[in-house]
Amino acid sequence: MYSILQYLKKGELALFIIFLIVFVFFSFSSEYFFSLRNLMNVSGQLAITLIAAIGFAVLLIAGEVDISIGSLLAFVALPLIQIMNLTESVALGIIACLIFGAVIGLINGYLSVYLRISSLIVTLGMLFILRGIVYLYTGQRPISDDLYSDFFFNIGNGKLLGVVPYAAIIAFLILAVFLFVMRNTSYGRKLYAIGGNAEVARLAGYNIKLIKLSAFVICSVLSSISAILLASRIGSANHIAGDLFEFQVVAAVVLGGVSLAGGIGTLAGAALGVMILAIVSNGLGMLNVESQWQMVVNGIIIIIAVGFDELKRKKS
């Protein structure tokens, strides 16, 4: 009874329709858009945003926010690449990257939840701090992946049987897992409850602080996974990586109907939001639309979609 269709009925239907419209439009207007190869490329391209968006949505649902993910993308790539180059082991690099991500998540969470500083402020500060550290450490020069391992290359660039990008597989696996967790586990429901009404959750005996902290960690760790994919795609730890990434993700997630107030929205919606923006930018590229027009179109889509969603809520 909680099938995909059920989700869509629960409000994502409008998004799904928009998605279809956009999809059909490009399929007819561009000769290159509707080809297995291109669609597979897009699915690989949106993986980075999608994974981060899942974490971001989970945190928003719990009633907190983390706008430092863009800088985090650049920051956690440093241990990844450095350790890889040092130890010549991709695994160690990835582990280090995830650990660093988790630590940042813990710091953000601790400052917001335990020291009660608004998470927006904390992560805004963290946005500056992490980016600054990256600049300091790299001297604003990208650090190249000297290991040059095929495995690492394939994480972000390879395709299963030369068709399905591994990046896409990773992303959609993560999506599936978290869809289930948020809908069908007590942990997931607790996140919703806390975001929906923290006081009630407290009186229901939840350990709000711990759960919120975990949400921060989830957000940072997932962003770190995005960072790994990105690093693999650009073959380096890059100081300018993820610049304004946080804006892309916020836009996509809110477009997907996840409320900034917390407690409302689904990951299915967030994923749709990401996909819509992704195929729009790909489609416009295929039509040789200049980048300045692409920005304008994105802006308009966001306003229309979110505005439409609000009107719908008002009526009901």
Partner: protein, 497 residues
């Protein structure tokens, strides 16, 4: 389905102090298993503090709590839940985005050992529960789609569903229909049979005599009396609570000249109202009665320009309005005091003075600037007039008690030259002492020639204050009475028709 291990919960010399206030001053009481123990007292008497300590939301400064003779420690909501203490709070405390079932199971979702929810089990057990206690609600309905009273029921169901040994109910009937109240009392009796102890907080004295076995009265954080029900009476209780006798009826002198101020014609809104029409004359108090969802608040907000009017119009002294917002209504001499003081009344970041002068700031302007001296003087004047209990007019509004906040919200409008004031449940959550003051104030306003629209579910106030009474049900006016020749029964009948 319930079990109980102890004979009584013993609260011993509990004290709790907040900056400036002694909320509880070594209060002791024994709550027996299988009995309903009523707890009464004005707002600020310390009832809610006591509840919050039992619920583990507050920590006590001094004193002990025992089950029989063995002491228990409550340091967090979790502790109190483990001990089987369940609290039904007055303000709805449910997750609006969740279904009824999910809310019932909020404390502990039924999961397998991997923490994965068993939805079927959840909804089945939930259905069984509702059948047992004789309420029928759709268990997979979203809370946000339920009426206030339905939500209240979910609250209660949620509390008693847990393996409770003590159920604390804070004003559980405040928004229930008489019919629902009957059902609730059945549930309570059912709990008694199962040897559950019930701590029952209410303002409504008549309820006490229907279900309570013992009554404890608090005043200003001190224990005043602790009596079995058969050794007390309405007078005694009121005396204990207020510390003085209260007269609760007024000499309404029905106005002779019917000079019309307000005409409402076929007022209709998308959400609720259907062709509401009536007249209001100068100095008249027009009472509105209706059960939850009858549309009184909607009517008030439509007249006041807060909700959009889809059809019909209103006339203020012959001046016609068909599309209007709150600011035009205020300019034309209408004021509105909301029923939802916390949500729509007070501005929490502002102090008493700023809250009081908010709608009438233009009167305090000289050139472009607000004259604070003048503000202070006038607000102090009103603080004296209604004796609002506050150290100064600069105190944050949130630090005042409900009754005092209400007085501030009323004086808000008295600073303006009002023709009409709309009062929505003006005495809700106001303690008895302040209540009579508020009522007599309303009476005086009418005497001075202000017209009043009075929406209240307090039948006595309605009858004693109003000149005429309109009875509403699902968005329409069902009946109109002259207050001096109508009985409570007639009004009830009209309201459920």
């Amino acid at each position: 389905m319930f079990s109980n291990s102890f004979q009584f919960l013993h609260i011993k010399e509990i004290s709790k102090e907040f900056p400036g206030v002694k909320a509880l001053d070594n209060v002791s009481m024994k709550i027996k298993a299988g009995k309903v123990h009523a707890l009464m007292g004005e707002n600020g008497a310390g009832k809610s503090t006591l509840i919050k300590i039992l619920a583990g939301a507050y920590s006590k400064d001094k004193g002990k709590i025992f089950f029989d003779d063995n002491e228990i420690s409550i340091n967090s909501p979790n502790d109190s839940l483990k001990l089987g203490i369940k609290v039904v709070y007055q303000e709805i405390s449910l997750i609006p985005e969740f279904t009824v079932g999910e809310n019932i199971f909020l404390e502990k979702f039924p999961t397998n050992r991997f923490g994965i929810l068993k939805w079927k089990k959840l909804y089945k057990e939930c259905k069984d529960l509702f059948n047992k206690i004789g309420f029928n609600l759709k268990v997979n309905e979203k809370i946000s789609n339920l009426s206030i009273s339905e939500q209240q029921i979910v609250e209660i169901a949620r509390a008693i569903f847990q393996k409770a040994s003590i159920v604390v109910m804070d004003e559980p009937t405040s928004s229930l229909t008489p019919n629902e109240i009957k059902k609730l009392f059945n549930v309570i009796n059912n709990l008694k049979k199962n040897n559950i102890a019930i701590l029952y907080i209410t303002h409504k004295i008549d309820e006490i005599f229907q279900i309570a076995d013992e009554v404890t009265v608090l005043r200003d954080g001190k224990l005043i009396s602790n009596r079995p029900i058969n050794q007390t009476s309405e007078e005694i209780l009121v005396n204990d609570m207020v510390g003085r006798a209260v007269e609760s009826s007024f000499e309404r002198t029905l106005i002779a000249n019917k000079e019309n101020v307000l005409t409402v014609k076929n007022l209709t809104t998308k959400t609720k109202l259907k062709n509401v029409s009536f007249d209001l004359s100068k100095g008249e108090i027009l009472g509105f009665f209706g059960l939850m969802g009858a549309g009184r608040t909607e009517l008030a907000k439509a007249i006041y320009g807060y909700d959009k009017v889809s059809n019909g119009f209103i006339e203020i002294e012959g001046k016609r309005f068909s599309a209007f917002n709150t600011s035009t209504m205020v300019k034309n001499g209408i004021g509105y005091v909301t029923e939802d003081r916390k949500g729509e009344g007070i501005v929490k970041d502002m102090n008493l003075r700023e809250n009081m002068t908010l709608p009438s700031l233009e009167f305090f302007e000289n050139l472009f600037f607000v004259n604070r001296i003048k503000e202070k003087n006038i607000s102090n004047e009103y603080i004296k007039k209604f004796d609002v209990k506050t150290p100064s007019c600069e105190r944050l509004i949130t630090l005042l008690s409900g009754g005092n906040q209400q007085k501030v919200l009323l004086s808000r409008w008295l600073l303006r030259e009002l023709k009409i004031i709309i009062l929505d449940e003006p005495t809700r959550g106001v303690d008895i002492g302040a209540k009579t003051e508020v009522l007599s104030l309303i009476n005086d306003l009418a005497k001075e020639g202000m017209s009043v629209l009075l929406m209240t579910s307090e039948m006595n106030d309605l009858l004693s204050l109003s000149d005429r009474i309109m009875v509403m049900a699902n968005g329409e006016i069902k009946a109109e009475f002259l207050s001096n020749n109508v009985t409570q029964e007639e009004i009830f009948k009209a309201s459920v028709s």
